[in-house]
Symmetry: C2
Subunit: 288 residues, 2 copies
C-alpha cells in the first residue's frame, strides 16, 4: 500500500484526522517525522534541522488558520554532541519565536539515523479545512514556489551557506490567521503545488483551472537547467511550506490586504478536473 | 555526551522541560520515540506497538496528575501494510479509550526501521512535578514492578501471546489524577524504580530510604533465574510505566483510598542519599 492509500485508511478510521492538523476542541495538533536520508541533505546544519523540522509542523498549524502556541520535538541520533544539540534547540526556538509560539522541549532517543519527530499545537475556534472550496473561488498561494527545490540543488553544488538559509523558511502562521477570515479552504504546499491543489479539490469535491503565471522563486531560475526543469521544481517538487487556499472572488482584495506576505492568485476553482494552462495537471508530488 | 547529560543540557535551556511533561498554560505535553531494535522485540504485534507507544506518552501525562485529552503518533516503517497499520490504529485507539483520551491521528513516514513517535496532551491547573518531596514523606509506587522485564523474557522464550499481553499496560491516568490531590512529587517508572527515585530525589533535593518489600510482579518470579536476577528485573530494568510518588505521612491513607489501583509504600523521603534496605541504591536504569 503506498503512502496516499495508507493515509486514506487512517483518514477513514479517525474522523479528527485527514487535514493538515487534527482538530480537538478549540485546538489543532499535528505531528511529523523528518530524517537525514530524505530530509536533511549533506551540509544541513543542526540549527537548520531544528528550525525546519519544527517549522514543518508549524506550517500545518498555519494551514488551519490557527494561532501557533507550543511545539515539542524528539531528537534521535546515534550520539549526542553538546554543540549539535544546542544548535538544534537554537533553531527550534528561533522558528517558534518567529511565529509567536513556544518551543517547550521534548525527548532524546538513540537512533542509527538522525531523525526528528515534531509536534505543534495551535488554537482556533474556527479552523479552515481543505474541504470548503466552491466553484468560482480564486485559487491563491502565498510567497514563492520552489524554494526548497532550489536549496536542494545548492546543497548538491556544495553551496551550503545559501542552501541552509533557504531551508530556514518562516512558517506562514500570520498569513494563515489573516486568511482564516477569508479562505474557504486551505492547506500547505508541503507536497508541492500540483498535489496540494489536487488534495484541496479532492476534499472540496471540485476542480481547479490554474492559469499562472505561477510565482516560482527566482532562485529556481538560478539553478534550473531549462524551462521543463523549472516547472518540475516549481510545481511538483514540494516541501515549500507556503499556503494554498481558495478565496471568494469578492473577498480577494480584502484577503490580499490583510495578508502580511505576497498572496498570488494562480487560478479559479471549477466543477471538476485540475488543469494548468488548459492541460491536465498530474497528481504528482513529494511523498514523505 | 550521554543521554542523561544531554537531557540536562536541554533542561537548562528550556524552562518548561525537565519533567515527565512540559507545562504550557493549563496543558501538559510530552513526546517520545520508540523503535523496533530497542523497544519492540520480535513477536511484538502492531496492535501492541500502537498500544504501548501511545501508552508510554499517556504515562507521562499521568505522572503530572493530569487528565489525558488527546494523542497523535507518527508511524514510520519501510512499507505500509493495511493490516499492520489498522492493527496499530486499533491498539493506539484502545489505550486512549482505556484512559478517556482520544487518538486523533498523526502521520506516516517511510523509514528503514519501524519507528513510532507519539505525543500526548493533558489538562491540569495544578501539575505535580518531580520537585516537591519533603523529608518524612512516604515513597509510594502504584501496581507492580518488573512487568516489562518479564515480558521481554517471555518474548525471548517465544511466548509471544503472554508477552504481548504484558506489554499492553494501562497508563495510570486515573491513579495520577487521584494522587494529584495528595502527592508532593511524582514521575513515572519508565527508567526503572532505582533511577526514578534518584530523579525524584535530585529534583526535590532530598534522599530516600527504601525498605521494601518491593511490589515485584509475580510474573518476574516466574522468569527470574535467582534472587539477584529478580532484583535486577524489578528494580533496575524499567519501562514499567507505574507511578512513583511521595505522599505526606498524614495523607497516605486518603491517597490509598482514592487511588483506583494498588498503592504500595516502599520507603520514606530522607535528607540525602538513596538506599534500599540500608545499602546505597545505584542510579542505574533504562536508557532510552
Amino acid at each position: 500500500m503506498d503512502e496516499q492509500a495508507a493515509l486514506g485508511l487512517i483518514g477513514d478510521r479517525l474522523p479528527a484526522a485527514g487535514d493538515d492538523c487534527a482538530v480537538v476542541g478549540g485546538q489543532v495538533i499535528t505531528t511529523d517525522m523528518l530524517h537525514e536520508r530524505t530530509d536533511f541533505p549533506d551540509g544541513t546544519t543542526r540549527y537548520t534541522a531544528g528550525w525546519r523540522a519544527v517549522g514543518a509542523s508549524l506550517s500545518d498549524v498555519a494551514a488551519m488558520g490557527a494561532d501557533a502556541t507550543a511545539t515539542v520535538a524528539v531528537y534521535a541520533a546515534p550520539t549526542f554532541d553538546a554543540d549539535e544539540l544546542s544548535a538544534f534547540v537554537d533553531g527550534a526556538t528561533a522558528v517558534c519565536e518567529a511565529v509567536g509560539a513556544e518551543y517547550v522541549g521534548g525527548d532524546l532517543d538513540g537512533h542509527e539515523e538522525f531523525t526528528v519527530a515534531t509536534t505543534a499545537l495551535g488554537e482556533t475556534e474556527d479552523p479552515v479545512r481543505r474541504s470548503g472550496a466552491e466553484p468560482g473561488d480564486a485559487v491563491c498561494v502565498t510567497g514563492t514556489l520552489g524554494r526548497t527545490a532550489a536549496a536542494i540543488r545548492l546543497f548538491e553544488r556544495g553551496e551550503v551557506g545559501a542552501a541552509n538559509e533557504l531551508f530556514q523558511f518562516e512558517p506562514r502562521v500570520a498569513a494563515g490567521r489573516a486568511l482564516a477570515d477569508h479562505a474557504t479552504a486551505m492547506l500547505d504546499s508541503s507536497d508541492g503545488l500540483a498535489r496540494s491543489v489536487h488534495q484541496l479539490c479532492g476534499a472540496s469535491d471540485c476542480g481547479a483551472s490554474l492559469t499562472g503565471p505561477l510565482p516560482i522563486d527566482e532562485r529556481v531560475d538560478a539553478v534550473a537547467a531549462d524551462a521543463a526543469d523549472r516547472r518540475e521544481l516549481g510545481v511538483f517538487f514540494g516541501e515549500d511550506f507556503e499556503l494554498v487556499c481558495t478565496v471568494p472572488e469578492a473577498d480577494l482584495a480584502a484577503a490580499r490586504a490583510a495578508t502580511p506576505c505576497p498572496l498570488h492568485r494562480v487560478g479559479t476553482v471549477t466543477e471538476s478536473g485540475v488543469t494548468l494552462s488548459g492541460e491536465p495537471l498530474p497528481d504528482r508530488g513529494y511523498s514523505h
